[in-house]
Amino acid sequence: MKANARRIKERIYKYIFSALAFASLLFLVGITITLFVEGTPLFKEVGFFKFLGGTLWYPTHSEPEYGILPLIMGSLWVTAGAVAICVPLGVGSALFINELASRRTRAFLKPFIELLAGIPSIVYGFFGIVIVAPLIQDLLNLPVGLTAFSGSLILGIMATPTVCSISEDALNFVPKEFREASFAVGANRWQTLTRVVIPAAASGISTSIILGMSRAVGETMTVLMVTGGAAVMPKTFFQPVRPMTATIAAEMGETVMGSTHYHSLFAIGLILFLITLVFNIVAELISRRFRLKLGLGR
């Protein structure tokens, strides 16, 4: 009787948890379907290549233009800049925490870096508008401080905890024997680090970089506030740009439901979704490849 009751209990738990696990899958499927249903009507009205390749974005004009190339470029530029900032910062601090820092420094530093990830993006946005943009404007003598560079700088800082935390975990996972073996054959600390530890942790480090990129390309509030929002093809980092997310956030609230403009915003969301999907697939491929190369069965 008692054993039976336990078995039933176990089964109930199993169902509850599998339902929870599948719920997230359900949400993903739901979101994907919504994006396709609401986004694809646009391609009938505008045409896929005109949408992706057009350089003018005038969705509400009497002769509307729905070219999102400047928006894609805005997103890519800002993300590239963010990666250039968060990779050295994130991987560098991970290496420091893992290799050089004393236990006390480490216990203090890691939670603080991770705390950066908990700051709401709108706070970063305010920081960007009030402190960073005016500073950049004055330092570089620009007409306006809301630029791709300001966005990259802030997104870079925002993505740093992701990169640092996952890289540090990856470094931590490198088996102690690897290091010991390296020292045993006479390698010094630097050689051990660059020839053994980093290659062994490369899968985790590259995953962290790609996750950082996904964070940067999908970030909305901050770029809306800080990048200025000019829908032009970027020529330098020091001009205003308009990333895709900022466009959706700024225009969705007041657009007429069911209009071409409305569908075009969903279509932008769809393209963005595909971009992050590619990022994630690449991350998975890279991490699998490195794992195989090193024969780590993790």
Binding site: L56, W57, Y58, P59, T60, H61, S62, P70, I129, A133, P134, Q137, P143, V144, G145, L146, L224, M225, G228, G229, A230, A231, V232, Q239, P240, R242, A246, A249, A250, E251, G253, E254, T255, V256, M257, G258, S259, H261
Partner: protein, 274 residues
Amino acid sequence: MKNKLFLKVMAAVTGIALLSGGYAFAAKNITIKGSTTLLPIAQACAEAFMNQHLDVDISVQGGGSGVGIASIIDDTADIGDASRPAKDKEIAKGKENGVDVYANVVALDGIAVIIHPGNPVTGLKNDQIKDIYTGKISNWKEVGGNNAKIVVVSRDSSSGTFETFNKLALDGEKVRPDALLQASNQAVAMTISRTKGAIGYIGMGYLSDAVKGVDVNGISPTKENVIDGSYILARKLFMYTNGKPQGATADFILFVLSDDGQKIVEKEGFVPIK
């Protein structure tokens, strides 16, 4: 013992529920959604109205003019705020749903063209504003200012403020593509106050000392000039309803149009309709 306590608590709760039931069940709900421009008016009027009518509960949400009108079409709100008239397309969509999208004009709003307070320019012709926004003029010296690049700040092109400005000031022409975009009146004002060469436009209610409102065609952006019609960049603000307002909704709209309501409109920085 435990059970008795439980019963006592239940009895007390039921008693309170019954006593307050007179209110709770008779309460009328009014949902207001829409334009962020009208948000301060709707909120302040809702508070004042609820103080006078204890049986009415009003909830106010933003979302934008499009959301406001859509909420009337979809019947998800009693009042849809909009800072622009409903489009033919929206009215037609309402008819499909059996909804009569009904306009109630509750206030006027002047759009102020604003520049950095340190900018020596004090007034612009409507044509000059148009040329600046369409890209024909790109240096302040062309309109009597310093030799500095003009940083053009605009609103997201689906906002009511953009639409009104685009129609009134630009004759529907395209804003230069490299204009900066900000998603709210406050964000525009903030950008202008921090950027020396910038020009932007906001609802007159958002004018403050941090920015300078320029004269348009020699007329300064003041309430008096909007009421007498001499200031050209002005628009009507609407509270849309499904057909002529009825019941509590009608009471509320009448309140907004009353002297008390219009005083609130003025206090929030807008222009009363009378």
